[in-house]
């Protein structure tokens, strides 16, 4: 194919003849696709196919062992009058909207502290990251022990300051807060590392300029740190909200959804429906609704991002 060259076209840097360039591009593209292939195949097999599969299964009555029968939208219609589903959704929302801001505050506070040029920062950073790196089930068992009403460490510490701690994991009022505290402790390390990286990427000249302008530390934090850290905050909020909506293992291990159904989360209910009650169609319908909730909330966060997140320094 002939290449039309306009007189005003920019002067090209010297290079190999064009035909050869195309050949190189072709082989590079092929190599790129081949390298991408394993990841892409994994994405298709383990993400796209299951999502499409869930969509199909949600339209079926299927108990796993015998042949499925067509259910249409019946499984979605079952969601409305199912009190356990709404209670689980409410519990999950409660967990998310309390645990995410708390995790954010703790993570940011610790990141700011570690960013003050402390000695042995690497050591502190590693220690604080340990809870995040530890398996949730193991952490949950430790926290069960900490929460023992009579001689558990939490109530023992509260007793030192004259407070009588509740029976955390069997109390109607305190079971969910107990889970939230454990979850914040488990996950703050992730946010802390992201925030620390974000803080260290902020140019020091901006703080120096602010100091020259006579700003207080709070004004400096509010007008320099927070805006420039907003991409990190956005990332942590989005991933934390998604993770919190999928909370499962700590609730399963620490309370098994009780007392009553006070700590039954949506993913726990989906698991019970699909793999303990053998009601795959209904479980798939619940999964798709959860997916929709997460998609809507994440979409809203991306809309807010335009106003609140600053990518330019």
């Amino acid at each position: 194919m002939a290449v039309e060259v306009h007189p005003a076209a920019p002067v090209r840097a010297p290079g190999p003849p064009r035909g050869r360039r195309h050949r190189w591009r072709g082989s590079e593209t092929l190599a790129a696709w081949l390298f991408l292939l394993p990841s892409f195949a994994g994405f298709v097999v383990f993400t796209v196919v299951p999502v499409l599969g869930a969509g199909t299964i949600s339209l079926l009555n299927w108990n796993l062992f015998s042949s499925p029968t067509w259910a249409g939208l019946h499984n979605f219609a079952r969601l409305g009058p199912d009190p356990t589903f709404w209670s689980a959704l409410g519990n999950t929302a409660y967990f998310t909207f309390v645990s995410v801001p708390l995790t954010l505050l703790v993570s940011l506070g610790l990141a700011l502290l570690l960013n003050q040029g402390l000695r042995h920062v690497a050591l502190f950073r590693s220690l604080l990251l340990l809870p995040y790196a530890t398996i949730t089930v193991a952490v949950a068992f430790v926290w069960i022990w900490l929460y023992i009403p009579h001689d558990g460490l939490v109530n023992a510490v509260l007793g030192l300051v004259g407070l009588h701690g509740p029976s955390w994991l069997i109390s109607d009022e305190w079971a969910m807060p107990a889970l939230i505290v454990m979850s914040v402790w488990k996950s703050f390390g992730f946010g802390m590392v992201i925030f620390l990286a974000g803080l260290q990427a902020i140019p020091q000249q901006l703080y120096e300029a602010a100091r020259v302008d006579g700003t207080s530390p709070w004004q400096s934090f509010r007008n320099v740190t927070l805006p420039l850290l907003s991409p990190s905050v956005f990332f942590v909020v989005v991933t934390s909200v998604i993770g919190s909506f999928q909370v499962f293992d700590q609730a399963l291990v620490m309370t098994n959804g009780g007392p009553g159904s006070r700590t039954t989360t949506l993913v726990m209910y989906i698991y019970q429906t699909g793999f303990e009650n053998y009601d795959q169609g209904y479980a798939a319908a619940q999964s798709l609704v959860l997916f929709a909730f997460i998609a809507v909330i994440t979409g809203l966060q991306f809309l807010l991002q335009r106003r609140l997140v600053h990518y330019d320094i």
Binding site: L64, F65, I144, Y147, H150, S167, M254, N256, P259
Partner: protein, 441 residues
């Protein structure tokens, strides 16, 4: 000048090789499996001692059947999930172990095949050698879906050392205590700081023995309606929750997940524990003297829950493999195999001809056989664990709401009243499942 094997061509070749390797490994993963004629069976196993028993079973199968034995052992907590996946994917073993309370669940869904035709065609197989309760537990809708390997009633363990320390004579080894006597003893032994009269899990699985002994049940005979709110069952629920909430003779409940009667009892400060004889192997590690006695007798006598486990054949086993599967199942539940099981002290074997191998200590272990034997007169009173095709859901529901009565957060009557409508829905679903399963067969 570019070399014949440039960086770019190397990278391209590497990518091609990687993709080919990934595809190859995926394909090879699909083609693995034991050679034809292998006797494959699956079982749960949580300790080296248990593993040794199943290894001995494997050796027994090889010796008796003269085929290769391949067992898949999985921790008990993950066993049902793994079995589900294997059944769905068609990779299940020829014979799979099942906990008795799951048999209706699997049978109603067509996951396992009925065995009546195989039993009828095999004159060597003597069903009469199995305890009636084991046969009952292994059946669903009038058909046999499994053959038992162990069966046992709930009994009452007692800490002989603790009783002696408090000047209390051991309970009768053959005559069940009345509930009043039991409650009085539990109160008397709960006096000192950190000492308790009784422990059990705040769950339906432990509660049903009291309900049966009161003449009640979770559901009616037709299993289409909950009768947990009837006077008989309520008497039992009031009695047991009263031990926790009013009498306070039980160790305090710290959480609802790891609450463990055995762990409480092994502390040495609890006088009585209800549990199955399958815990004998663990209680033998106790640092105090102990023994077992019959379950306390309520208004309907001593009617503890009788549980058991069995071997079954998945529905997906083809006709070409069925003969091998049946021979394997017969071998795994034969007197010789169950003698291995019993000698390890695991539990009471499901066959009468193997029972004597389950030997003391404790001294009164023979009581288990006397309770199971319907000819034993007054003592024979076990009640097969009545379950539904959706017992998982029933357990979940009861497991979430009943413990609140054990904690004193709600009264027993209020808890049961709140549960009953939802239980009735599950019972109706159970009836639908039974009808559908019966229509198919």
């Amino acid at each position: 000048m570019s070399s014949p094997f440039s960086r770019r061509s190397f990278l391209t070749a590497a990518a091609v090789a990687g993709a080919a390797a990934a595809a190859g490994s995926a394909l090879s993963g699909c083609s693995s499996g034991p050679p034809a004629g292998t006797a494959t069976w699956s079982m749960w196993s949580d300790s080296p001692q248990e593993q040794q028993v199943w290894t001995d079973f494997g050796a027994y199968v090889r010796r008796e059947m003269r085929v290769r034995s391949l067992s898949t052992l999985t921790p008990a907590s993950g066993y049902p999930t793994k079995l589900d996946l294997q059944l769905v994917s068609g990779t299940a073993s020829l014979v799979t172990a099942l906990n008795g309370w799951l048999i209706p669940t699997y049978a109603a869904r067509g996951a396992h095949r009925p065995l009546d035709d195989l039993i009828a065609a095999d004159p060597d197989f003597d069903t009469g050698d199995f305890y009636p309760d084991s046969r009952s537990i292994s059946s669903f809708a009038g058909r046999t879906y499994a053959v038992g390997f162990d069966v046992a009633p709930t009994v009452l363990y007692y800490n002989r050392t603790l009783l002696e320390k408090n000047g209390i004579a051991p309970p009768s080894p053959t005559e069940p205590m009345s509930w009043d006597t039991f409650r009085g003893l539990a109160r008397e032994l709960s006096g000192p700081e950190g000492q308790y009269g009784f422990t059990c899990a705040p769950a339906i699985d432990d509660l049903v023995s009291w309900i049966y002994s009161a003449g009640g049940n979770v559901m009616n005979r037709a299993a289409d309606r909950s009768i947990l709110g009837d006077a008989e069952a309520m008497e039992a629920i009031d009695f047991v929750t009263g031990l926790f909430v009013k009498d306070r003779v039980t160790p305090p409940i710290a959480n609802l997940v790891t609450e463990n009667a055995l762990a409480n009892f092994l502390q040495g400060n609890v006088a009585f524990m209800q549990n199955g004889p399958w815990q004998v192997v663990n209680v033998r590690k106790a640092s105090f003297d102990w023994d077992i006695v019959p379950f306390p007798a309520g208004p309907a006598g001593s009617k503890p829950r009788v549980s058991g486990s069995s071997f079954a054949i998945p529905a997906g086993v083809g006709d070409d493999q069925l003969g091998l599967a049946w021979r394997l199942l017969k071998t795994l539940t034969s007197t010789g195999a169950l003698n291995i099981y019993a000698r390890a002290g695991r539990n009471n074997p499901a066959r009468l001809s193997a029972s004597t191998a389950f030997a003391p200590p404790p001294a009164n272990l023979g009581i288990v056989r006397r309770i199971l034997d319907r000819r034993a007169g007054k003592l024979a009173g076990g009640h097969p664990f009545d379950v539904t095709t959706n017992w998982n859901q029933v357990r979940q529901l009861l497991g979430q709401d009943l413990p609140r009565a054990f904690l004193g957060q709600v009264g027993a009557k209020e808890a049961v009243a709140g549960l009953t409508p939802r239980l009735n829905v599950l019972m109706r679903q159970n009836q639908d499942a039974v009808r559908q399963a019966s229509a198919k067969s």
